[in-house]
Amino acid sequence: MAMFSREPEVAAKSPETIIGPSVKVEGNFIGSGNVVVEGTVNGSLKTSKDLRIGEGAKVKADIEAANVTVAGEVHGNVRTAGKLELGPSAKVLGNVEVAVLVVAQGAILNGKCVMVKPETVSSSPPIPHPEKKKSFQA
């Protein structure tokens, strides 16, 4: 079945945290294992392992994870020491700071993109969010 799936396969293996389609999480979510988001997250989302954002997911949060796979909608900055993979249905409105970037045809990425070496991602300060910057200027 996986060959017909539109979503990339990263982080699909044994997730410890699953946020299902009917669940809304508000606040600072800090996970220690693989995380799969199919629902709504507002706030911030951090995990030391892999993160997968499913096709129907809506995330309004700054994200930090080892590897990130996006098939849904993200409003916020994404920082990863590993790979950021944007599927054909992905929509990312925010800055990204990654070591490896994979963008599928059809994916939307609006924001500043900084490619860094894996070890420099966690130590460098975050890039300001473009929307936040706009409101500051106004």
């Binding site: 044994s14 997730p15 410890e16 945290t17 699953i18 946020i19 299902g20 389609p21 009917s22 669940v23 809304k24 999480v25 508000e26 606040g27 600072n28 979510f29 800090i30 996970g31 220690s32 294992g33 799969v36 199919e38 629902g39 709504t40 706030g43 499913g54 129907g56």
Partner: protein, 250 residues
Amino acid sequence: MYYYLFDSQLADRKYEPLLNRIEFRLIELGLNGRMDRLSVLKNMRDLIETAIKRGAETIVIVGNDAAVAKAVSIVAQYDVTLGIIPVGQPSRIAQALGLPEEEAACDALSKRIVRTIDLGRVNDQYFLFSLDVPAQVVTVECDGLYRVSLTGLPRPFSICNFGPREEVRAACNPQDGVLEAVIDDRPSGWSWFRKGTSLETVLPLKRAKISSGGISIPLTLDGQTVVKTPVTVEVAPKKLRVIVGKGRQF
């Protein structure tokens, strides 16, 4: 020293031959100890506490899930080991711990594979499996960091320590030091025709506050004890020493 506590339901005559076989097998294995039977006049807490004062180190409950769930909350407060000889239904707890039924469980007692497991705690009550929340509008505040709510219609969910259900068993390990909020996200009725995922939400947490606005909602611990919202549920790590079998589910 072993202390055996027989559930009051086993006073029925039909259990007599089985109880004789159990007693005989215990003597054969050299697992002798004091035996008591629960009755309307004998309180489980009093009997267990008296036995512990007299030097009992292993409290063995002979009975079904209801008796074991009640004993878990008492035994967890003392430095003793819990043993189970499952007699009667349901016996989900014994199954999850890999213990065979009836007199075969005496051999598991004799092999004495002891594991220390986490429990869930609500006020001064402990639970082994889960705290079950009915389909009502509730707010769950997890670890003081984030709030979980359900979009759409309210649905039942559980705060699990140990997952007897196969789908969430891998996540709900009673030795991982965390509880898991498990919300069934499978579409209901005709909605299974719709395209979409059918994931079950699993959120690890150490402490959660469950509130339901101004109204009080009854929540059940291991399907036995009822507590009312608002409640704070938290993990009690390595709280219970229990004798398990080879086929345990963790």
